[in-house]
C-alpha cells in the first residue's frame, strides 16, 4: 500500500513538476496595474512625508519666532538692568557693600533714609535743568545736586524718566514720583537740626559741584515750576536730607540715575533670509493648436480639450532663500514642489497603432497621450472602449525660481511685489483611469507615463502681497500669486499646453 501511495505521489511529481504553463497576457497587465498602483501609493506617501516635513519646518519657524519674540522682551529688560548697573558704576565708582535693595516691582515702605534719597533724586532732576538754563537758583540747586551724588544707601532705581513733583511744605514733607514706582508715598523728610552729617554737607565746596544731566524726557514745565516755587527750600531740604542720610559707615547704597533709558542697540540682521511657503492653487492650461502635428486626428484639438478637461486641485510648497540687495530689494531663489491635477470627462476611445505596431487604446490629454493597459486583451480595429467615469491626470514639478522682490515697510506692516522666472522639471505624471476589465465592472488603473510631455519647461512668477513682522526676524506674508509657463509642457502633440495657476501663497520668513 505504501509503495502504491509513493508511486502515485511520484507519478504526479515527475509528470507535472517539470511542466511549464505560460500565463495569459492579462496576468502581466494586471500585475503591471498593481505595480503602478503601488508606485502611486509610494508617491502619495512621499508627498505626505513632504507635507509633514513642511509643516514641521513651519512649526519650527513659528517656534523660533515665538522664542525670538519672548527673548527679545527679556533682552530689553536685561539691557535696562545693565544700563542701571553701568549708571551705578558711573555715579559710584567704589560702591559700598550693599546689604539691602528695593525692587521697583515690589515696592516696600520707605525707610527714613530711602525717603531722603528719593527726595534728593528729585531735587537733582529739577535742579539739573536749572543749571543748564542758567537759572539764578542754580547755585543752591547744584549744591543740592552734588550732595545727592554722595554715597547713599543702596536702592535700585531704574533709569526711567522721573516726573518730579516737589511740593515742599512748611512741615517739610516731600512727594516724589519716579514715574515708574508710582506706589511711592509722600514721606516725611524728617529733617532735624540735629541730624548727623549736617555740617559735613554744608562744608561741601561748591566749586567741586558739577551739574548732572537731566533726563531729556522730564517735562520742562513741571521741573521748572517746582524749582521756581521752592527752589531755595528744596535745595536746603535736599542738602539737609542728603547730609542726614550720609553716614560714613552706611550699609546701604542707592543708585541714582536721571538719565532716560538708552535706546536699545539696533538689531543686527544678516542679508540672508529663509522663507517657507504653501500655496493652494487653481491650475488651468492655455492651449494652442499645434499645426505641425496631425491635428485632424482630434479635429479642433484645443477646443476639444478645453471642453473635456476641467481644472482640479493643485498646490505648491517649498522654500526660498533671500538675499537683501538693498533696503528694498531682495533676490530670492529656492525650490518648490507643485502638484496639479485635471479631470477628464468620460469619453469613448478607439484603438490606435502603438509604437510596436500593435493596436492599443490610448487616452489623449492636452498634456500628452496615455497608453492604456490591455486589460481585456488586444483590441481589434473595430473595437471601442467607453470610459464611464472621470479620469484624473496629475503632473508634479520641482521648480527653481529666481525672483526679485521690492518691499516697503512701515513699522510692522509691509507690502511687496515680486516677479521672476522659474525652471520647472517634471518629476511625475500619471493618469488614473477607470475602465472595464474582464467583467463588466470598472476598475481603476494608473498609467504612469504620458508620451509627449517635456521634462523641462520655463515659467514666470509674479505676485503682490502684504507682510507682517511678528518679530525682528520673523515675518508672515500673504501673496496672491500668478505662475505661468512661457514654454509648452509638451511636444509633438495636437495642442501645445501652457499651464498657468493662480494661488494664494502663505509664507513665513526668517531673516537671519
Amino acid at each position: 500500500m505504501k509503495e502504491l501511495n509513493d508511486d502515485i505521489d511520484k507519478l504526479f511529481r515527475d509528470s507535472i513538476e517539470s511542466d511549464e504553463s505560460v500565463p495569459s497576457v492579462r496576468a502581466w497587465s494586471s500585475l503591471e496595474a498593481k505595480l503602478d498602483k503601488q508606485l502611486l501609493e509610494i508617491y502619495k506617501q512621499k508627498v505626505a512625508r513632504f507635507r509633514l516635513l513642511s509643516l514641521a519646518l513651519l512649526l519650527l519657524l513659528i517656534g523660533v519666532g515665538v522664542y525670538e519674540f519672548t527673548s527679545s522682551k527679556q533682552l530689553s529688560s536685561r539691557k535696562n538692568d545693565m544700563l542701571v548697573n553701568s549708571e551705578k558704576k558711573e555715579v559710584f565708582p567704589e560702591p559700598a557693600t550693599a546689604t539691602t535693595s528695593a525692587s521697583l516691582e515690589t515696592p516696600k515702605p520707605h525707610s527714613r533714609n530711602e525717603n531722603n534719597v528719593l527726595l534728593s533724586q528729585s531735587i537733582k532732576s529739577v535742579l539739573g535743568k536749572q543749571v543748564r538754563s542758567g537759572d539764578a537758583s542754580s547755585r543752591n540747586a547744584t549744591a543740592s545736586s552734588s550732595l545727592s551724588t554722595a554715597p547713599f544707601a543702596s536702592k535700585t532705581v531704574k533709569p526711567v524718566v522721573h516726573e518730579t513733583n516737589l511740593p515742599f511744605t512748611s512741615n517739610r514733607t516731600a512727594s516724589v514720583n519716579t514715574g515708574v514706582n508710582s506706589s511711592i508715598q509722600p514721606v516725611d523728610a524728617g529733617l532735624t537740626s540735629d541730624s548727623p552729617g549736617m555740617n559735613a554737607a554744608e562744608n561741601e565746596p561748591l566749586s567741586a559741584i558739577e551739574p548732572r544731566p537731566v533726563p531729556t524726557k522730564v517735562p520742562e514745565t513741571k521741573a521748572s515750576t517746582s524749582t521756581s516755587t521752592s527752589a531755595t527750600t528744596a535745595a536746603t531740604a535736599a542738602a539737609t536730607a542728603s547730609a542726614t542720610t550720609t553716614p560714613a559707615n552706611s550699609q546701604t547704597q542707592v543708585l541714582l540715575s536721571t538719565d532716560g533709558p538708552a535706546s536699545p542697540d539696533p538689531v543686527k540682521r544678516s542679508r540672508f533670509s529663509m522663507t517657507v511657503f504653501f500655496s493652494p492653487e487653481r491650475t488651468s492650461h492655455l492651449l494652442s493648436a499645434d499645426h505641425d502635428t496631425d491635428v485632424d486626428r482630434h479635429g479642433d484639438a484645443d477646443d476639444d480639450f478645453n471642453k473635456r478637461e476641467q481644472p482640479g486641485l493643485s498646490y505648491s510648497a517649498g522654500w526660498k532663500v533671500g538675499y537683501d540687495l538693498g533696503k528694498h530689494w531682495t533676490l530670492f531663489t529656492g525650490a518648490s514642489y507643485s502638484a496639479s491635477s485635471q479631470k477628464i470627462k468620460p469619453t469613448i476611445i478607439y484603438p490606435e497603432k502603438a509604437d510596436k505596431g500593435d493596436l492599443q487604446y490610448s487616452l489623449s490629454t492636452s498634456s500628452g497621450d496615455a497608453q492604456l493597459p490591455d486589460v481585456s486583451g488586444k483590441p481589434l480595429a473595430t473595437d471601442s472602449l467607453t470610459l464611464r467615469s472621470f479620469s484624473t491626470q496629475s503632473l508634479q514639478f520641482i521648480s527653481v525660481p529666481l525672483i526679485v522682490q521690492y518691499t516697503v515697510t512701515r513699522k510692522k506692516i509691509g507690502f511687496h511685489a515680486y516677479a521672476g522666472f522659474s525652471m520647472n522639471y517634471l518629476v511625475g505624471e500619471s493618469l488614473l483611469v477607470e475602465m472595464p476589465s474582464s467583467g463588466s465592472d470598472d476598475h481603476p488603473y494608473t498609467v504612469n507615463s504620458l508620451t509627449g510631455v517635456n521634462r523641462f519647461h520655463a515659467g514666470v512668477v509674479a505676485g503682490v502681497g502684504g507682510q507682517y513682522a511678528i518679530t525682528n526676524h520673523l515675518t508672515l506674508m500673504l501673496d496672491p500669486e500668478f505662475i505661468g509657463s512661457i514654454t509648452a509642457i509638451n511636444y509633438n502633440t495636437p495642442v501645445k499646453s501652457y499651464p498657468y495657476s493662480l494661488g494664494l501663497m502663505l509664507s513665513l520668513g526668517y531673516h537671519f
Binding site: 502504491l4 501511495n5 508511486d7 502515485i8 505521489d9 511520484k10 507519478l11 504526479f12 511529481r13 515527475d14 509528470s15 507535472i16 513538476e17 517539470s18 511542466d19 511549464e20 504553463s21 505560460v22 500565463p23 495569459s24 492579462r26 496576468a27 502581466w28 494586471s30 500585475l31 503591471e32 498593481k34 505595480l35 503601488q38 508606485l39
Partner: protein, 181 residues
C-alpha cells in the same frame, strides 16, 4: 541575475517584466496545481509576483532565486486558501475500488495538463494537502500547522486525495484504452 534583481528593486519596469517572463511559466504551473481554474491560478501568480517584487530587497542571493520565488508562490496559495476558509466536503470513499496501473502507462497516455486538471478537481483541502506533501515535501505536522488543521486531518486528507487520484487516473487510462480499441 544580480543586475536584474537590482534593477527590479529600483522599480525598472523592463527588468520586472524580464524576471516575470523568466519564472512565470514554472510558477504558473505551480499555481495551477493549487487553484481550481486558470483564472484563479493567474490571480495567485499576480499576487505572488507582487510579493516577489516587494521582498526582493530581502533576497540575499544565498540560494536559488527560483526556490525563493517558489516558496513565495506556495505561501500565497496557502494564504488564499485559508482566506477562503474552504470547508472540507464529506466524501464517501468506502466504495472506491483499488485501481492498479503502471507509471509508464500514465506517462505515455496522460499529459501533464490532464494530471494537473485531476489535482485541480480535488476538493480544496485534499488538493492543498496533496500538493504540500507530494510536491513541497512537507510532513503532516508542518502541513497541519500551515493549514490550521490537525495532523490526523492532514493524513486522512492525503489518503483520500490519493484514492481519488488513483481512481481518476484509472478512469482516464481505461477511457483511453477503450477509445484506442
Amino acid at each position: 541575475m544580480e543586475a536584474l534583481i537590482r534593477k527590479c528593486i529600483e522599480g525598472d519596469r523592463h527588468a520586472q517584466n524580464e524576471l516575470y517572463k523568466m519564472f512565470s511559466p514554472k510558477m504558473m504551473n505551480l499555481c495551477l496545481r493549487y487553484s481550481r481554474s486558470r483564472e484563479d491560478a493567474e490571480d495567485t501568480l499576480v499576487e505572488g509576483f507582487m510579493k516577489v517584487y516587494e521582498n526582493l530587497p530581502k533576497f540575499r542571493n544565498q540560494g536559488s532565486l527560483e526556490g525563493w520565488i517558489r516558496k513565495i508562490m506556495v505561501n500565497t496559495a496557502i494564504e488564499k486558501y485559508r482566506k477562503k476558509n474552504v470547508l472540507y466536503p464529506a466524501l464517501h470513499l468506502d466504495d472506491v475500488p483499488e485501481f492498479s496501473f503502471s507509471a509508464s502507462d500514465v506517462i505515455s497516455d496522460m499529459s501533464a495538463k490532464e494530471l494537473v486538471k485531476l489535482v485541480q478537481e480535488l476538493p480544496a483541502g485534499y488538493q492543498m494537502v496533496f500538493n504540500l506533501y507530494a510536491f513541497e515535501g512537507l510532513k503532516h505536522k508542518e502541513i497541519a500547522e500551515r493549514l490550521g488543521i490537525s495532523e490526523g486531518t492532514s493524513k486522512s486528507n492525503l489518503f483520500d486525495a490519493r484514492a481519488i487520484l488513483r481512481r481518476e487516473v484509472a478512469k482516464s487510462l481505461n477511457l483511453a484504452k477503450a477509445s484506442n480499441e
